[in-house]
């Protein structure tokens, strides 16, 4: 899922403080799981922004709401009126939701309340880690189910580098070396010999390097 982290209140306040009526809109899918962008967090953020407005002696009306997903048209129906009645939108969705709204509501400014951080997993409650970079060309079949593109700081396809230390990455002692994990996993699978297979030059054209990507499923097209 997509993980995000709320921006500092001062930064959010800086973007909305010039407006008169702001709709604070939560997104109740991915970013709600990490307790950063759901309706509940939108409500808390709204309270904090109201306090800011009082402290700055500014008259801004904050309206709070939330929808299931800010990246699909059908979920917007319940808030259409609220959007129309606002002169700015503060989205607690990931970057996808923010942009989706910016395209959808062409003449209303939309501001992000979150920094979208990564595609990750819930290791344990409250602990989220990056697992995938959506490179568009999955390598997991040959790397023991552990992604060096997302989890090696140098995205080495033939790692590890010389900096691995006690199974940890040279850049951070808290961080597992992805290639250490891959080697251990290949061994557990009885496939350590696969380590010597050279990974060829990767086609990054399917990654960000190839420009914005789209995916069309013909049978779903209206």
């Amino acid at each position: 899922m997509i993980v995000g982290e709320q921006k500092p209140l001062e930064e959010i306040w800086g973007t909305v403080s010039g407006h008169r009526k702001v709709l604070v809109l939560g997104c109740n899918s991915c970013v709600a799981v990490c307790h950063q962008g759901g309706t509940k967090q939108a409500e808390i953020l709204t309270s904090l922004l109201r306090m800011q407005a009082t402290q700055h002696d500014t008259d801004i009306q904050f309206v709070v709401n939330g929808i299931e997903r800010q990246c699909e048209h059908e979920f917007f129906t319940p808030v259409t009126d609220a959007v129309k009645g606002s002169d700015a939108l503060l989205s607690l969705a990931c970057g996808v939701g923010v942009q989706f709204m910016a395209e959808k509501f062409h003449i209303t400014p939309v501001y992000p309340a979150l920094n979208t951080t990564f595609l990750g997993a819930v290791e344990r409650p409250g602990y989220f880690t990056e697992k995938c970079q959506a490179c568009g060309n999955c390598v997991l079949a040959t790397t023991g189910g552990i992604c060096p593109v997302a989890r090696c700081a140098k995205r080495l396809l033939n790692g590890p580098c010389g900096g691995v230390n006690n199974g940890k990455c040279e850049i951070n002692k808290e961080l597992d070396c992805a290639w250490h994990l891959i080697v251990e996993r290949l061994e557990a699978l009885g496939r350590l010999d696969d380590y010597e297979k050279l990974f060829p030059l990767k086609n990054w054209a399917k990654d960000r390097a190839g420009g914005p990507r789209k995916f069309i499923v013909e049978e779903l097209l209206p």
Binding site: N158, C161, G162, E187, E196, L198
Partner: protein
Amino acid sequence: MNLKTESKLEKILAAGHLAVTSECGPPRGSDPEVIIKKGDLLKDYVDAINVTDNQTSVTRLCSMAACIHLKLMGVEPVLQMVTRDRNRIALQSDILGAASFDINNILCLSGDHQVFGDCPEGQNVFDLDSMQLLQTVRHMRDNGKFLSGDEIKRPPGMFVGAAANPFAEPFKIRVPRLAKKIAAGAEFIQTQCIFNLKKFEEWMSGVRERGLHEKVYILAGVTPMKSLGMARYMKKNVPGMDVPDEIINRLAGVPKEKQADEGINICLETIARLKEVKGVSGFHIMAIEWEEKVPEIVERAGLYPRPDK
């Protein structure tokens, strides 16, 4: 003698001599005198000089320009090239640029992470890794083609090297990793600084078991410790460095003003012992900001004079 390149380093290794290389880090400025001075100091005592490529991710004068300065003064450079800062277009382009000056040796590396340097907020590239860079240079040289398959007019004639760290974990893949680098195209290897001789010998025995020492020239990396402080720093802070306590204790056991001499002695003893290790084809002396000691080390190690090239 079946030589693949015009490299002096290759010639010396192929002739069966113990090769000696050293390295010089380019300055953090545009004054070429720094490189020329280092080159002058080393030129009669080593067969080739590596020029580091923005080592530890600290921005410096570029490796290629420094190599050109050395080449112009008659010194054989080894162009170190990391994949951290350049994509495959820039890598191929720089390889051709270096080849146009007949820089005949290249060491293919991935490079330290930028977090250690002066631009920790910069992007890293890593379009290729070190193994893929090895493949790229060999493809350009042997097939005379770009990665695209287009023909290269006057392909680069480079002798291709890689680094190996016998000490990094997990140890069980250290010999396979060397085999992988050889399969990717490495013709010579310069190892990480050797302080833990026992571990190195264990690695070399695995290397010989697979006959890898007959497929690649292994230059054993040595570094003289300048002080106890340096030894402690390297043990604690330099990723992938294995400095056993006995080295620390030896340096700690002599007065401060004698530590540098003791460091040189340890280095010379290391070289003497490594000379006995079958499969070691030479030495890569990395005297970090202490290049002036390299001639003394080479002479006292019985590696002087250098063979005629």
